[in-house]
């Protein structure tokens, strides 16, 4: 139903016109009201309206109990474009997908889509644990909007893609979680809509399967289908999407080539703060020997930042006043991961100039360089401390002085898209050689098949 279609270019697939979505706080979570609340509310409403009018307030939506999950979001997507939607949790990405998928309606503005929309907001939507793999393929296919004939035609492809041929008549509740996810994704991956909405579903399955899923998504884009792809995985966004849109607090912050937008996202300020400053020594943490002045994370461009690229080196800076002349001091940084686990600590005791010498009074800056391809991705917090060189007196120890995110942009992980275990993720040297070709083992009387069983 083209209502006002005249100014719209013919090659557009999605158009967002000042889309806003409002939620009432407190009603988002419990979600429903009991009859008693509604009755009480309908009694109280006129009273409240009267009171608000007397106070000169607006009777509707008094402001404080309302949040805008999306606000004035406008952009166009051309047919065949693959767009990455990025931003922190609560930025509005998922809400935007839900509006485009017609799951929820916008509060203001409007969104237009042209063509069949397939949404992949969750892996395994429509699956029933008691039904066999075969039944679930049909069921989930129908839920995603496929016709029965279409599913029947693609059935073998789907099962082969998921690699669950032997278990296709087994109830999926007996599947391993990996098999379950593979089958669920395989169904969704074979949905062939003109517009595909994908919400963070690639973080499942093993590396090999993820590679195939990425390939499948990419081929979707190459066939002229429009893809909107929500992800926290910047490597995947950079690889898959020529263009990205960065949403923060419901608004479009950046929209353009993915490399620029991902850069803007990485540079953007986090609420945790990558820099803390105490301009007045009297109010700064410390004692009568040492006062902190600043702690910060500095990116490769020399600017303070709240998120660093996993592949790039960066520095942690600790600035402090030494108030006592010729004091032997040492600065320490303690690095912790998101679970509060100490990853390592490091101090400037080996620093060539001041590491082992009493320090004259004055302002000091100790800079620690953390190499690229060293920390694992995730939230890092830093304690900053300054102590006597023999660690007998701690003049200042600022717990969680700063925090920042190490953002995954690829590097060590290569094509693998899943979680990467470990406190650190170093780039290490490996050598793999084929020591003995299989033919020689067989001639030596061993069956490779038999050996592997």
């Amino acid at each position: 139903m083209p209502t006002r279609s005249s100014p719209i270019a013919s090659d557009l697939a999605i158009r967002l016109e000042a889309v806003g979505k409002q939620y009432r706080i407190g009603r988002v979570r419990p979600g429903y009201y009991s009859l008693r609340e509604t009755l009480a509310d309908s009694v109280m409403r006129p009273v409240r309206a009267l009171r608000e009018r007397r106070n000169g307030h607006q009777a509707v939506d008094a402001g404080e109990d309302v949040i805008w999950a999306l606000r004035d979001v406008s952009f166009d997507v051309r047919q065949g474009e693959v767009i990455g939607l990025i931003g922190r949790n609560g930025g509005g990405k998922s809400t935007l997908l839900k509006i485009l998928a017609r799951i929820t309606a916008p509060t203001t503005g409007r969104a237009g889509v042209r063509g069949r929309v397939g949404s992949l907001l969750e892996v395994g939507t429509g699956f029933h644990p008691d039904l066999s793999g075969r039944d679930n393929v049909f069921l989930a296919g129908a839920v995603l909007g496929m016709r029965r004939a279409e599913i029947a035609r693609k059935f073998d492809q789907i099962v082969e893609f998921a690699g669950v041929e032997q278990f296709i008549e087994t109830p999926v509740k007996r599947y391993s979680s990996g098999m379950y996810l593979r089958l669920a994704f395989a169904v969704a991956a074979h949905l062939e809509p003109e517009i595909l909405l994908v919400d963070e579903v690639l973080a499942v399955g093993d590396a090999e399967f993820q590679r195939r899923c990425l390939g499948k998504l990419q081929s979707v884009g190459n066939l002229g289908r429009t893809v909107l792809f929500v992800s926290h995985n910047m490597a995947a966004v950079l690889r898959l999407c020529p263009r990205a849109v960065y949403l923060d607090h419901g608004r479009v912050v950046a929209d353009g080539p993915a490399a620029d937008v991902v850069g803007a996202y990485l540079d953007a300020g986090l609420e945790v703060g990558g820099e803390r400053r105490w301009p007045e020594p009297r109010k700064a943490p410390g004692d009568d020997v040492v006062r902190l002045r600043a702690v910060r994370v500095v990116g490769p461009d020399g600017q303070p930042t709240t998120s660093v690229d996993i592949q790039q080196p960066f520095t942690i800076e600790i600035e402090y006043w030494n108030l006592k002349d010729r004091e032997p001091l040492v600065a320490t940084a303690v690095i912790r991961d998101a679970h509060g686990q100490d990853l390592f600590s490091s101090r400037d005791n080996l620093e060539p100039q001041w590491g082992n010498r009493p320090r004259p009074a004055g302002l000091y800056r100790s800079v620690c360089t953390i190499p690229g391809n060293f920390l694992n991705s995730g939230r890092i917090t830093v304690d900053a401390a300054v102590s006597h060189r023999d660690l007998t007196v701690w003049h200042v120890w600022e717990q969680s002085a700063i925090a920042f995110d190490v953002v995954d942009t690829g590097g060590v992980r290569g094509d693998y898209q899943g979680p990467w275990a470990g406190a650190i993720r170093p780039y290490l040297h490996w050598v793999t050689r084929l020591e003995e070709p299989a033919a020689e083992l067989v001639t030596a009387g061993q069956s490779i098949d038999g050996a592997s069983r």
């Binding site: 209502t3 799951i103 309606a105 237009g112 929309v117 949404s119 907001l121 839920v143 995603l144 002229g224």
Partner: protein, 294 residues
């Protein structure tokens, strides 16, 4: 256009659409208040309706030793209890039909209504994971629960046929009206459950109300007693219950005692239609916010 270069069935579909001027825009806009019913969208999703019903039928009696037999046992055991206490001990009249047959026939169509109603009224809430993840006309969900109850009814009817043979009931021409009364019962349950399933999303009170509602409704419906024992003065009020016409008519079509009064049928049908249309519009109005409130 790159579309035309695509091969395979979906590519053909795309290319076909491309030739006819490309797909048209669908606008997603703030919608408040009453909206048109859009029964065509519902029709487009008939396969999903079928699959959801098929899923529930398949899953329903899984891991139950007696399986689908429960669809017969439930009304049969109820009929046995009612026959002992009402038929034998209380001597409730049954319009000249053997009481077990009388009550079982009534139970068949009553349980179609009551089971469909109790399943459908909670169906939207129990399908919240679907509702927050995929788009489809939400009415598909309660309708599929009702379809499942129809399957149970079909299974339970086999015993009814056997009983009719046993009691040597001869089939009368009235049998041709049977589908009308089944339809009346189905429309009645669609009507009531479109209200209750939508209300349930916002007011969880519905869940607690249902058992009582269904029990009271059964007493207000001539399932275990004939409507002939209802005093004439109460007849018009009695007919306001849409299931009165359905149960009376269903039993007459099968067993061929006295036909239900046309007035009573007309009142039952009119009430059903009013509740149905109101319910469908109400459902349509609130389904827009299901994903936000569920």
């Amino acid at each position: 256009m790159r579309w035309t270069a695509q091969t395979g069935p979906a590519g053909e579909a795309l290319a076909r659409r491309e030739r006819s001027g490309g797909p048209s825009w669908v606008w997603i806009e703030p919608r408040r208040g009453w909206a048109p019913l859009d029964l065509r969208a519902l029709w487009n999703y008939r396969e999903l309706l079928h699959f959801l019903a098929w899923r529930d039928v398949k899953v329903r009696y899984k891991q139950a030793v007696l399986g689908g037999l429960w669809a017969i046992l439930q009304p049969a055991l109820t009929a046995a209890v009612l026959t002992i206490f009402l038929g034998r001990l209380a001597h409730v009249p049954s319009d000249g039909v053997p009481y077990p047959l009388f009550v079982y026939a009534g139970l068949i169509i009553w349980q179609l209504f009551s089971q469909a109603l109790s399943q459908a009224s909670s169906s939207v809430v129990t399908s919240s994971s679907l509702i927050t993840k995929v788009y489809f006309p939400r009415l598909v969900i309660p309708l599929s629960s009702i379809l499942v109850s129809l399957v149970d009814t079909a299974i339970a009817s086999t015993l009814l046929l056997a009983m009719m043979v046993y009691y040597r009931v001869s089939i009368t021409p009235a049998i041709v009206t049977l589908p009308i009364f089944l339809l009346l019962a189905v429309l009645a349950v669609v009507a009531v459950s479109s209200w209750l399933s939508a209300l349930h999303v916002q007011y969880r009170d519905v869940r607690w109300l249902m058992p009582f509602l269904i029990q009271a409704w059964m007493f207000a419906t001539p399932v275990m007693y004939p409507s002939s024992i209802v005093p004439d003065a109460w007849r018009p009020v009695f007919g306001l219950n849409p299931m009165v016409g359905a149960v009376e008519g269903f039993r007459w079509a099968l067993l061929g005692q006295q036909p239900p009064s046309l007035l009573l049928l007309a009142v039952s049908s009119a009430v059903t239609l009013v509740v149905l249309i109101g319910g469908l519009y109400y459902f349509r109005r609130v389904e827009q916010t299901f994903a936000d409130t569920i």
